[in-house]
Each structure stands twice: as structure tokens, then as C-alpha cells.
Amino acid sequence: MGTTKQHLVTIKGIKDGLVFLLDDQCEFTALIQDLQYKLEHTHQNILTGPIMHVDIKLGARSASDEQKEEILQILKQKGNLLIRSIESDEPEADTSNENEMKIMTGVVRSGQVLHHVGNLLFLGDVNPGGIIHCTGDIYIMGSLRGMAHAGFEGNENAIISASYFSPTQLRIADVISRPPDEWEIKESNMEFAYLQEGQMQIDKISNISRFRKDTHIYKGV
């Protein structure tokens, strides 16, 4: 009841049609309810007129394809509405973070926690007792002597790599591993940790292309 009273859907007339401004903060179901309510009750008059072009603006909402389809279906029920576009100016949040790398410098000392959403390139050391949490990958140019947790929100494809790999503990998604009981540290190479069938594995950084085929760059012919 209450949801229909807060205007989640705003309908505006422009020169050559209508713009549906959809609230981007509320629950998606509430939005759908309000949209249906408006079409069937309060704004019937605009729906009975001539054919009209409609632009849908989702705001900052990150709607899935299914959700977009749901909105389209509701509007298509009214024969005179012709959907011209459906836009969302959703912020960098999802798409950019997936590929973008944030660069940070410093020393994560004992008792300090560095939390980052996305991938992180950290220039500096992580000392024993220091923690890096990251929703994506962690790349450390320096020594990893503390704890690193990649794929913090459950991304099992995340990796952890460091120039000097000597962590007190490693975590990827929900898997916890600790050296040296579980794997041996070879000090000479830059290494990375990844999950294989739920098991933490360590390998030389040069073998990363076997694990990450999508980012592999082929050169020459």
C-alpha cells in the first residue's frame, strides 16, 4: 500500500512522447507494483490516446536483463506505447570494477586492515598482523607477510599474488589456507595463489596464463 503512494514512477511528457523515470533506490518489486498501479489507475487517460514513444530511465539501478524485460512486458500490454529506449546511468560499480585495477601504495602494518572493492594492485609490504581484504584479485608488488583475502564476497576465481610470497594466512572466497603446512614457499619467484576445486594452489606467476586464459595476450603470429 505504502509503496504506491511514494512516487516510484514519474511520468513526464516531452515533445515527442513520454519519459518514465523509475526510482533507483526502492525494491524492484515495489517499482513494478507502482508502475502497474499508475498504468491501470491514475494515468489511464494517457494510455487511451494515440500511439506514443516512451523512453525509460532506470537511474542508477543496475537492472538485470530479466528485470528490464519485465518492465517492457508491462508497458507492452498497453497497445499504444511504443518503447523507444531503456537506459540506466548505473555508476561504475559493476562493470568497471570487474576489469579496473585500483593502485594503492604504503605499508599495511600489524593491526591495519586495507579493504577494497574490486581488484587491487598494492605497491608496498603487508607485514605480519596486517590484513588486505578485496572483493577481486590482489596483486602485491612487495612482500606479503601478513594475511590476504581475495574474492572476499565469494568470488572463487580471485587470485592473490605477491613479489615475495610469505603470508601468515591466505583466503580466497571461503577457503582458508596457511603455510607452510599446506604448501611450500619458493622464495625466488613471484607467485600467485588460486583455487582449484576448492583447494588452494600456489604457482609461479608465469603460469598464470593457464589459469586466466581470458586475459592472455598473444603476440606475434
Partner: protein, 264 residues
């Protein structure tokens, strides 16, 4: 306006008070006007190490609460004209005083003294916050043990988020034989982890224990290796370039260091 240097470590028992007493005395020995401040309220030791316990009349808390003037609480050293100590209260705890109060007192002391050496209590709570409140610089003391290095790292992190910039490191109680045989962390390893400037290394020396028990700072005894190390650190505080003490125990090495310092 003088300079306030806090001696801190995080972990207890690594030699903060010994370092404070010896650096304070060494600076006085080099002709500077120095005041040492004990902020370890409830567990004061600096007065004992300095042998000034029986001269205390007022303390830090008395000054903070206005029960006496700052000058009345200062205890003059028995060896040097220009060396003073402001003792901590023994009957209270760290919460008896606030960082602002300490800051005001240190500011007052800096007007009169060239160097104010603040002896910090162990831990990272109120006592630590009190001790660093008035300091301009910090010296972090650690020993070549993993636990002490870990705590020093924590302290350096906390200092980093305070007003104090680039603390310097003293590695205390080094045993050259154990370092050589690989049983003790070596200096390079510690510096690599802590990533701050080293201001001095102090060898483990029995003289230090003897001296502390007799209320006479080690630095007064030129036959002690630790004394030379502390004098070197004091000179580095003054801005001199003094080479690091060699930890080899070759006979004659020590004499050469002494000669270098013009004391042989």
C-alpha cells in the same frame, strides 16, 4: 623551543625506560639541557633506573591537576646540573591524566629544555596516547625477537596515523653471537619489515642490568658497549653522522670505536 622525543615500543620489557634514561643522560653528557618525563603512571620506573626515587615530592598528575607548579615537580639529577626528571604518579592509573594535559605540560617543558625525553608505557591504550600527545618525534625500541618486531610494527602504524612523522628505530639487546649463528633475527631483516630509519643498535650488555639496579645509567660507564651505543644514538639525535657500531666481538674492535669517539 626544545624538541620532545617519545621513546615507545608497544611490547613491554624491551628497554624503553633504560633507553630513555640513557639517552637523557647521554644528551646531558653532551652538554644539552634535558628533561625526562615518565608517563608510565602506576608503574613508574624511570626514577628507579636514574636513582632518583627518594627525591620525588610531586609528580605528573600533581602538575596536571594543579596541585603544584611544574618547577616544583621536577627532580634534579644528582650527576648533571642540566638534567631533570618529571616522575609519574605511582598511586593512580593511566586514566588519571588526559593527552591534552600532557601536551600542555610538554609544551611548557619545551620552553625551558632543549630536549624532552618522554618514556612511554607499554601498550597502545590511554597511556600510549598520553605519551605521544606532546611529542614531536618518536623513537621506537625493539629487540631482535618476532614478538617485539610485531608490536613495533603496530606502534609504527599507530604513530603513522598520529601527528608524529617518520619515527626512528633502536634495536636493543642484540647478541652478536646469536645473530651470527642465525638464531636471532638480524638487523637487516628487522629493518626490511619495519621500513623505518635506524637510529642505533644496542648490544646486550650485563652492565645495563647492574647499572639499572644501582640507579646509575649505563651510559656513565665508558667501558660498557651499550654505553657507547647510547652515546652514539644521542649524537645522532643531535644531527651528527656516527657510523653504526660493529657487532663483531673481535678484540681491539671496541677500543677502536672508543678511539674514534675520542674517549680512548
Amino acid at each position: 623551543m626544545g624538541e620532545a622525543i617519545v621513546i615507545t615500543s608497544g611490547k613491554g620489557g624491551v628497554g624503553k625506560t633504560t633507553t630513555s634514561a640513557n639517552l637523557g643522560t647521554a644528551l646531558a653528557l653532551l652538554g644539552r639541557k634535558v628533561c625526562m618525563v615518565d608517563t608510565d603512571i602506576g608503574l613508574r620506573n624511570l626514577d628507579v633506573v636514574m636513582g632518583l626515587e627518594n627525591r620525588i615530592i610531586y609528580d605528573l598528575c600533581d602538575v596536571a591537576d594543579g596541585r603544584c607548579r611544574l618547577n616544583q615537580a621536577l627532580v634534579k639529577d644528582k650527576r648533571f646540573e642540566e638534567l631533570y626528571m618529571l616522575p609519574a604518579a605511582q598511586t593512580k592509573d593511566k586514566n588519571a591524566i588526559s593527552p591534552e594535559q600532557v601536551k600542555d605540560i610538554i609544551l611548557e617543558l619545551k620552553k625551558e629544555f632543549e630536549y624532552v625525553i618522554i618514556d612511554c608505557p607499554a601498550g597502545i591504550e590511554q597511556g600510549f596516547k598520553n605519551a605521544i600527545a606532546g611529542a614531536d618525534r618518536a623513537i621506537v625500541v625493539t629487540t631482535p625477537e618476532n614478538a617485539a618486531v610485531r608490536d613495533a610494527d603496530r606502534i609504527i602504524g599507530l604513530l603513522g596515523s598520529s601527528h608524529i612523522e617518520s619515527p626512528r628505530l633502536v634495536i636493543n639487546r642484540i647478541r652478536p653471537n646469536m645473530v651470527k649463528s642465525g638464531e636471532m633475527l638480524d638487523i637487516d631483516e628487522i629493518i626490511q619489515v619495519l621500513a623505518i630509519d635506524l637510529i642505533g643498535i644496542v648490544p646486550d650488555d650485563e652492565h645495563v642490568i647492574k647499572a639499572a639496579n644501582s640507579g646509575e645509567p649505563t651510559v656513565m660507564n665508558p667501558d660498557s658497549k651499550a654505553a657507547i651505543a647510547y652515546r652514539n644514538i644521542a649524537r645522532r639525535i643531535l644531527g651528527d653522522t656516527v657510523p653504526l657500531m660493529l657487532m663483531d666481538q673481535k678484540p681491539g674492535m671496541f677500543k677502536r670505536v672508543k678511539k674514534f669517539l675520542g674517549m680512548g
